[in-house]
Symmetry: C2
Subunit: 201 residues, 2 copies
DNA sequence: GTCTATACCTTGATAGAC
DNA sequence: GTCTATCAAGGTATAGAC
């Protein structure tokens, strides 16, 4: 948090400011997910977080900087989630099953809005390289977690690499098609297959 | 073509008009793919196709109608491509291999802009149900072609369903992640795996 | 430090001349 | 039928009062 505000607008904030900044990020996070980055306006965000839109520029110099903060915030949440799984579930295979279930747990939203990372990445990848790094490092978190599980299950380094990529690909594709067809069953079916595949390794 | 113009603006056009309408669709098609639907303005399209933007409304009542025409145009191209494959390659397994190679053949563009259908679907799915049907019927074309190949390879109806879904999921995920990482190798690696998988069926 | 008022630009869409 | 000129609305961003 201190890290991310350093590279944002040079603002020095008190406790209240930090809290307000977070409110903006939270509202933007949801709206970028539900409507997309380009289709979301500052007015939309302002309505949702009760901060006047003119005030946004005290916390973020541009819309892209807000996007960056949103992605970093998501990364931190994902890192926390993966950390928790790592602490709570020592068995690597069981843990991998739980990772496969992450999108399934949100299947209703995923069928409506797609994968929060995948849809944003698809949009941003066309627009600007600005937040490219933040996005790929977020995916790398997932890949590393999967890799760690697979290695723990006895796979070689190369095999773990290969299968982590494979698993992420399937999850991403399932999320995209579940959204396209507005059908959670697509996600459900493919994730069920992934569970079988994990057990076959 | 006659069919699609009927449901668009009530315009009656001559040969020149049809040709101009097609120029608009072609330019919009490329720009929606490269920049996204929301981020593409009529001014952008007008610049690329040498038709004054005010004139667009003679051919399409709204931007959404233009989008619809773009998707229908893509559908016709895909249907033609699949038809050609069907005529040229009678062996179902060989044909399925060729279908798997479709995104691979455009790997350079896919690594930059993602899957033309998948990225559009991810964006549009959040905005409006307007072109939902046109999009899903386009995916259904692919699914049916895959299903037909799989059934021809001796799989039961249910197995063919299941595996067509699985294959489409992998292709879609591979395209998304290739774009995210700006890395054609991701696409290449996953499609290589799909070829192995096809041969294992 | 925080927020209001607003500038300036681009958007999708329209009206009416040719 | 085709296109130019323009609209009202909404976009991001800024300047400056409190």
């Amino acid at each position: 948090m201190g890290t991310s505000s350093r590279i944002q607008a040079g603002a020095v904030m008190g406790r209240k400011g930090e809290e307000k900044r977070q409110r903006i990020i939270d509202a933007a996070n949801t709206l970028f997910y539900h409507k997309g980055f380009t289709a979301t306006s500052f007015a939309d965000i302002a309505d949702d977080c009760d901060v006047p839109k003119g005030n946004f520029y005290f916390y973020f110099r541009t819309k892209e900087e807000l996007l960056d903060a949103v992605i970093r915030d998501r990364s931190e949440r994902l890192a926390g989630l993966l950390d928790d799984l790592h602490k709570d579930i020592p068995d690597p295979r069981a843990r991998l099953h739980r990772i496969a279930d992450v999108p399934f747990n949100d299947r209703h939203e995923v069928a409506q809005y797609g994968c929060p990372m995948g849809t944003l990445s698809a949009e941003i990848g066309k627009l600007t390289p600005f937040s490219q790094n933040a996005l790929t490092s977020m995916y790398s978190l997932l890949l590393m977690s999967m890799h760690h599980c697979l290695a723990g299950m006895g796979l070689s380094h190369d095999d773990a690499d290969h299968n982590a990529r494979h698993m992420l690909t399937r999850l991403q594709g399932a999320a995209n098609l579940a959204q396209t067809f507005k059908d959670e069953n697509w996600l459900e079916a493919e994730i069920a297959d992934i569970h079988d595949w994990i057990d076959s390794l």
